[in-house]
């Protein structure tokens, strides 16, 4: 027989170990269920995303593409990385700094027609700030940095 305090100590250690493994299991499960991948318009145009998957898309709002319904909140616009375009449909109120020519990130799914149905549209608070996601999307697409003001040399 173990000494009582040894047994207690073993009990406590088992208790901690069980608690920790349950927690880690729960965490990893939750993590695996909630990862949203980010894709550039080029990646979407190349068919890298299956219809129906939840993901984020980022790019610039194409000039002259915003088509707002007069009598409802439905809006349609095109996001671009200056290589490929993806049409986006959204029903709701757009953020303050949503403009043509500004970078945005939208969250949602592709429908069968290849239109991105957004459940959320994000723009940034600062006029001068471009989301790293949008910038990365531009770089991945190989868009010529000279053509737009957000120049940053690709690293990898």
């Amino acid at each position: 027989m173990m000494k009582p305090h040894r047994r207690n100590r073993l009990g406590i250690i088992l208790f901690i170990a069980t608690g920790m493994s349950v927690a880690i299991g729960l965490t990893l499960f939750a993590l695996s269920q909630n990862i949203n991948m980010f894709y550039s318009p080029t990646a979407v145009a190349n068919g890298e995303v299956e219809a129906g998957t939840m993901f984020r898309i980022g790019g610039m709002v194409k000039d002259g593409s915003v088509d707002q319904r007069r009598d409802s909140l439905a809006v349609r616009f095109v996001t671009t990385d200056y290589v490929h375009d993806v049409p986006i449909e959204y029903e709701g109120i757009l953020p303050d700094l949503f403009r043509e020519g500004q970078g945005i990130v939208a969250e949602g799914r592709l429908d069968a027609a290849g239109v991105f149905q957004a459940s959320r549209v994000l723009a940034k608070h600062d006029e001068n700030y471009m989301s790293p996601e949008v910038r990365a999307a531009m770089e991945q697409a190989g868009a010529n940095p000279e053509n737009h003001p957000f120049r940053e040399s690709p690293e990898d």
Binding site: I12, A30, L31, Q33, N36, D96, L97, A136
Partner: protein, 670 residues
């Protein structure tokens, strides 16, 4: 000329902090009393010179000195005075100066309120804090000097403060948050000083407790203010977004809450010693992580200051050296620390251990969710984001278990509690909270709702167990009133903070589950119904503010025809920067908030807007305030002062250690 004086003062403060970071530590190591005694005057000097820096920078903002780069970047001559002053912490440089100044304030507080501690210990604490302060000032001088000038020609006017920051929330939230954050430097310094001296005893835990409590109390308010501000300013109707910059304060807060409980065990029972030290280091690491994330621009966030990689590397260096050094020291010392291990499987120690495990797991999972996208990108090159569902999925079950244990912990006894005693004390209360948890939502909503039942049952569980414990603690006294008076501040602080948890729990659960919203396009005169309320749009008018123009809508809210509130949301355009900004309109109430976010104005005078009904949302911040007051009350417990005084008398005679004579105290927080 004046800003150069600020620069000069900053350099002097740097020299003082270097002295503070070396002489007292060296004195404590060699037993040199003179060097140790320099700690207090140097702390005062550091505070004064950093205060001068802050004053001079504030002066530059108030007098519109646009030759100073940060003033030109963040202020404007049209800005109302209160925002000119607070624009100081609207950018990276100024806010870091504020942060460093607050550290010097905490250092001064330690040097003043440490009369009862041995001089070697005080010298080490002040020395560690001095080193930390030196590294912060060096960081400013090297990468982010707040007194930089615009060369060669200063602009005629400034670029203006970000419009989202022109708000009372911005005046209050950053300083409070920083104050709480920086408080963990003190707790950290206490831990490192104890590790240096090799004396991790009950005395160390008792000295640390008031500081850990006060830091936590302030941090709680800081986070709550941020949440409240985001709620009414950002206008998405939420109070917590799991934003990468919201999370580090929460991580620190969770570690801090664990630390408060673990310190109690270490002081009372002299167990969990090495664990407690580790928590103190982790809480501090959390606070630096927050700075790192905001100032490195590493993660996408609404909070991010303009990014500059060199700053990130520098802060990472501070983080690595301070936390890495402390952990190294810990690795050498921890094996030497002996914890007695005298408690059974059902005892208050075990319940507090469970509390600590849950809080630390929660902190770790927030940490993982916050930084996982970064690691993932480094490994695969793919960009991902982790959504709120991840955090909610983890947090909800953890907090439910935590709250169940919260009811049992204070009633259980140190060392050993019998299961039958707990059943006798708590069995009926558990049944009662469950029954009421089912009944109350049924009566109010006329339907069975699992989330409401869980929330109400858990909140009642907390409240009923607090009541039971109060009865038990006063049962043996001649009168109730005398009994209540004999309980300590520490005890009331603990129960108060726990009651705050109950209040917050109700708010979080009911708001998350029962909030409703709808986005609509309304022409003047049109009405939208939401829940029991009708929102009628009555047209809009042009109004002029001090530094903006606005269109103001009138929205009349009625409930079954009876008027409830008039709401006036605004669409503003700030004159200096031309930035548009939306101003929500809220009718706040104890049981519900009515909330209108304006969208845009169409050609025909119609507005798009989102209307919300948010039940019990105020209880979230009310709960935070109660928790914070509880922690502050516990820190004010007389015994910290009394023992400090007693120690002062006997400090010369004996070394600390023999604290065995403490009377068994009624509660964790006592």
């Amino acid at each position: 000329m004046i800003p150069e004086l600020g620069q000069f003062s900053l350099i002097l403060a740097f020299c003082l902090s270097i002295l503070l970071g070396t002489l007292p530590l060296a004195g404590a190591a060699t037993g040199n009393g003179l060097w140790m005694s320099l700690g207090r005057p140097l702390s005062a000097g550091l505070f004064v010179f950093l205060g001068i820096c802050l004053f001079i920078l504030g002066h530059a903002f108030v007098t519109d000195d646009f030759s100073v780069r940060v003033v030109a970047a963040q202020s404007n001559s049209l800005l109302p005075m209160q925002y000119k002053l607070t624009a100081l912490w609207g950018g990276h440089e100024g806010s870091f100066l504020l942060w460093t100044f607050m550290l010097s304030g905490w250092i001064l507080a330690v040097s003043v309120f440490s009369g009862g501690m041995p001089r070697e210990f005080v010298a080490r604490v002040l020395g560690v804090l001095g080193l930390l302060c030196a590294s912060y000032i060096l960081f400013m001088l090297a990468t982010s000097n707040p007194f930089d000038r615009m060369a060669p020609v200063p602009p005629a006017d400034g670029a203006d403060l970000n419009t989202a920051l022109q708000d009372i929330g911005f005046i209050m939230h950053p300083p409070t948050l920083y104050m709480g954050y920086v408080g963990y430097s003190v707790v950290f310094a206490f831990a490192v000083a104890a590790l240096l001296s090799g004396r991790l005893d009950a005395a160390w835990a008792r000295w640390s407790r008031p500081w850990a409590n006060v830091s936590w109390a302030i941090l709680t308010i800081g986070i709550a203010l941020g949440s409240w501000w985001a709620y009414y300013e950002l206008g998405w109707g939420g109070w917590w977004a799991w934003d990468p910059v919201e999370n580090p304060p929460l991580i620190t807060w969770l570690f801090g809450a664990a630390l408060i409980h673990s310190l109690a065990v270490t002081e009372k029972r002299r167990v969990f010693k090495s664990w407690t030290v580790l928590l103190a280091i982790l809480a501090f690491a959390g606070s630096l992580l927050g700075t790192f994330i905001t100032r490195s621009g590493l993660l996408t966030s609404v909070h991010a200051f303009a990014s500059d990689p060199s700053r990130g590397v520098f802060i990472l260096g501070i983080l690595g050296i301070s936390v890495g050094g402390a952990l190294l020291l810990y690795a050498f010392r921890a094996p030497l620390i002996k914890s007695e291990f005298g408690f059974g499987p059902l005892s208050r120690e075990v319940f507090l251990l469970a509390n600590n495990i849950i809080l630390v797991v929660a902190a770790a999972s927030v940490f993982l969710g916050t930084l996982f996208p970064m690691f993932y990108q480094a490994l695969t090159g793919d960009l991902i984001s982790i959504g709120p569902p991840y955090f909610n999925l983890i947090f909800a079950p953890l907090m439910i278990v935590l709250v169940m244990l919260l009811g049992i912990g204070p009633i259980s006894r140190w060392k050993k509690t019998s299961g039958s005693y707990l059943r006798r004390q708590l069995g009926k209360l558990a049944l009662a909270s469950l029954a009421l948890g089912v009944a109350l939502p049924l009566i109010v909503l006329l339907e069975i709702s699992l989330p409401a039942t869980i929330a109400v049952a858990l909140a009642l569980w907390i409240v009923l167990t607090i009541g039971r414990d109060l009865l038990a603690k006063t049962a043996n006294k001649p009168g109730r009133w005398q009994g209540l008076r004999s309980l300590t501040y520490g005890y009331y602080g603990m129960q108060g903070a726990h009651f705050g948890v109950a209040v917050m729990l109700v708010g979080v659960a009911l708001t998350s589950w029962f909030s409703t919203e709808t986005s609509v396009l309304l022409r003047p005169g049109e009405t939208v119904a939401l829940g029991n309320y009708e929102f009628r749009f009555d047209g809009s008018e042009r109004v002029a503010g001090p530094n903006y123009q606005a269109d103001r809508a009138t929205v009349l809210v009625t409930r079954s025809g009876a008027p409830v509130a008039d709401l006036y949301p605004e669409l503003r355009v700030y004159l200096a920067s031309g930035t548009p900004s939306t101003e929500m309109a809220i009718d706040a109430g104890l049981t519900r908030d009515l909330f209108v976010t304006p969208g845009e104005i169409r050609d025909n005078g119609a507005w798009t807007m989102t209307v919300y009904v948010k039940p019990f949302v105020r209880w979230i911040w009310l709960g935070a305030i109660i928790m914070s007051l509880g922690a502050a009350l516990a820190a004010a417990d007389r015994r910290y002062r009394k023992l400090a005084g007693r120690r002062r008398e006997s400090a010369a005679a004996s070394s600390p250690g023999g604290q065995g004579g403490l009377q068994p105290a009624p509660g964790v927080g006592s």
